[in-house]
């Protein structure tokens, strides 16, 4: 009796061994579930639509967090771009883009569909959202983002997975500098360009003898913008008194603003964006910094990266503040007008610069596919590299092959003193020509990597 009981007894060892064996067997024999992935049939590259009648794009934008306003506007622009590509609506920039092979019948005759995701302005969340798009929804291209940290993280993921990433709003030098990738493309301008465009205007406005105090968002974009603006302003003779890093999404900036008043600075440079900029600027104005006189000069506030959405959020505080912008809806060229018109008809208000860059990126990708005659990413990359185009705002533009950065005119803008409407808050001070903001492609090092992943 006891003998049979012993033989029945299950020991810890046998449990472990059994489990391990099952695991092993299933792990190496059981990769079968790969058959069950949608569209897994003979794909030559990720996102290959095969014989499907539609192509899927992935719009990965911040829907929650400090940059959610920009994200919402980006999403509107993407939806509009999809409509125009599919031949619905008035066609927007499809009519003004040159050269263009887009006909309003989708991309390569396939109807454009899309999936969306929330980046939460966090690298982890953005990457898992992008992976869902690539692994589950079989997207041919991922685009979006309103933070350089996120853009860089998603860009390197896209390189690993072999899917093209058309960056949305990302302004850090690193995106197409030291962290550039073969599969990443940026239409938006960068911090270096802001500095080069802004410095001469600052010199005219405030003179050569100024002391600047920087408050900087503590991540890749803030760092590179601070560096670029500091270099540019020091070139015109300004002195940098202090640079202070502030956490993203801080909300209350008073603890960082008090030391500004105790220093001998006479210019405050806010390297903030989104809600952070709205908060820091509003609070700086509440501290009376606009009326302040320091070193016998009027105290000045500068926001190097400016957008209409932010100026709208800051309201009164934004009046008279100088900064740069990638694009503004009041531009009079044909492309901008067409875009503003169809965006306005759709949503009832003008688009932001974030919306503009996202819309343009989608069209550029679609056009590159048409030019390449395929969705195969390495071919699409080749047709985007060195592509020159016009009619999309900002004048003639080049997608530089060496670092996948667009070169075009940069706008210096100022908060309007007497706005005519709630959207008419910024005035374009100067459209700085492209030649003034160019730089060599190897300025920050970095490598693009191979055309095909794993090569």
């Amino acid at each position: 009796m006891s003998k049979s009981k012993d033989s029945m007894k299950v020991t810890r060892r046998s449990v472990l061994a059994g489990t391990a064996a099952t695991t092993g067997a299933l792990m190496f024999g059981g990769v079968a579930p790969l058959h069950f992935i949608r569209n897994a049939h003979a794909q030559e590259f990720p996102g290959d639509p095969g014989n499907n009648s539609s192509i899927v794009l992935g719009f990965n934008v911040p829907q929650t967090g400090p940059y959610s306003d920009e994200g919402a506007d980006e999403l509107r622009a993407y939806e509009l771009a999809v409509k125009h590509l599919n031949g619905e609506g008035d066609g927007g920039m499809l009519n003004t883009m040159q050269p263009s092979e887009l006909q309003g019948n989708g991309i390569l005759g396939k109807k454009v569909e899309y999936v969306t995701g929330d980046t939460q302005t966090k690298s982890d969340a953005a990457r898992s959202s992008a992976r869902r798009m690539i692994e589950r929804d079989n997207v041919a291209m991922v685009t979006g983002g309103s933070s350089s940290g996120v853009a860089i993280a998603v860009q390197s993921l896209c390189q690993e997975m072999g899917v093209i990433f058309m960056a949305g709003l990302t302004h850090s030098n690193d995106t197409t500098g030291k962290d550039k990738r073969r599969y990443g493309f940026r239409h938006f301008f960068n911090a270096y360009m802001s500095g080069q465009a802004l410095a001469p205007i600052l010199e005219d406005e405030y003179g050569n003898d100024r002391k600047a105090y920087h408050l900087t968002a503590d991540y890749t974009w803030g760092w590179t913008q601070e560096e670029s603006i500091r270099d540019a302003t020091e070139n015109i003779g300004w002195e940098t008194v202090e640079t202070v890093k502030t956490p993203v999404g801080a909300g209350d900036f008073s603890q960082y603003l008090t030391p500004v008043q105790d220093s001998d600075a006479d210019v405050l440079i806010l390297n903030h964006y989104g809600n952070d900029m709205v908060n820091s600027l509003t609070q700086a104005v509440q501290f009376g910094m606009k009326e302040r006189v320091a070193n016998g000069k009027d105290f000045a506030i500068v926001v190097p990266l400016y957008s209409r959405l932010m100026a709208q959020g800051a309201g009164e505080a934004a009046k008279g503040i100088l900064g740069t912008s990638n694009w503004h809806w009041s531009l009079q060229d044909e492309g901008s007008q067409a875009f503003v018109k169809s965006f306005g008809q759709e949503y009832g208000f003008p688009p932001s610069q974030a919306a503009h860059t996202c819309y343009v990126q989608t069209l550029l990708y679609a056009n590159a596919c048409e030019m390449a005659g395929t969705f195969a990413p390495w071919e699409v990359i080749r047709s985007l590299e060195g592509f020159e185009f016009d009619g999309m705002g900002n004048g003639p533009t080049l997608y530089r092959a060496e670092d996948h950065q667009c070169f075009k005119d940069v706008l210096v803008v100022r908060g309007k003193a007497n706005p005519e409407s709630e959207f008419d808050i910024l005035e374009v001070v100067q459209q700085v020509p492209r030649s003034q903001v160019e730089y060599p492609a190897d300025k920050w090092g970095g490598e693009l990597g191979p055309y095909k992943p794993g090569e």
Partner: protein, 387 residues
Amino acid sequence: MINANLASPRQDLIYMLVFSAVILTMPLWLQPFGAAYPGLLQKFMIFGILAIGYNLLFGLTGYLSFGHAAFLGIGSYAAVWSFKLLSMNVIPAIIFGTVMSGLFAVVVGYVCLRRAGIYFAILTLAFAQMAYNLAYSVLTPITNGETGLQLSQQDPRILDRMFGIEATSSLPFPNLFGITSAGFYGFYICAAVMIIVFFIALRIFRSSFGLKLRAIKSNQTRMSYTGYNTRPFLMTTFVISGMYAGLAGSLMAVTDPLAGAERMQWTASGEVVLMTILGGAGTLIGPLLGAGIIKYFENIFSAFNENMLMDAFSFLPDWMAEGVAAFLGLFVGDGWHLTLGLVFMLIVIFLPGGMMEGLQRIWKLIRHGRHKRDHQSKSQQASAEEA
């Protein structure tokens, strides 16, 4: 539900086999839910491991730690550094990540376990916030700040060089002796680890050590009066729990070789508490369920948009479909936090024992129904079974 201490080893074997089968077939049965893609499956496993480990501490001893994300982050950073310095093989990375978190847990535990209850929670929260801020700015040379620690072409990778593994022009990816840890392979690596650590958790639950931990939870003072020094037990559990979190963190790096400071933020610590409570603290499977649900909401609900809703309700007349889509639109997409909040409230109010309590109630209902049917013929046997 298997009673914690009365389950025989044979029952445990069956339990483990069923569990392993369920885990390993996830890519099949999650297909209809739209969750069977490697990225999310890996997350299920990783956060499952984190929640199981957390439950060892919170579920058994009742010590509410609000700083587990710090261990997760340390595990990730350690694993990425192992990839950079030693080898792209996942084994050293996992070991390195787990051990580093364990060491950190010893330090944190030594300080925090001097207090119980809310004070313990606050102390762990403070430690985690410290770790987060260090990783975010002070230790930027080690952690690369907000951008996150990434692999690069120039990494030394000493062991790989020694064994003559040539670098390609694209960035290398972690692998298990040549099998890449991307995609479904990554999921199976995580699943194998999950099954092993689940078995360890099961053994802890069944052991006399586990019983002592439960005794600490029910009445620590009485426990001390009976002559037990509770501190070593708590310390051991805390370190084990921290190592589970470190393991989860290193697996995050294995499936996606990047470590960012935001992983250590207090919201991430709060998330694992939510997972455990949502699923059922103190149960074996509960935390896993909770982790699955939260990750599902985060990844699937946030991806719905109005267009998809309109498609789903296209069978309704237009005006109605628009209304329904607009209303439901509040709860999906950027509103996924709202849905999660509602679900969490409902569960805490109506099922304080988490989803496991719900499942048990359903199970009882079914059994009860069956009893009624069988009552006429087999009333005696049924009551004997019940006993």
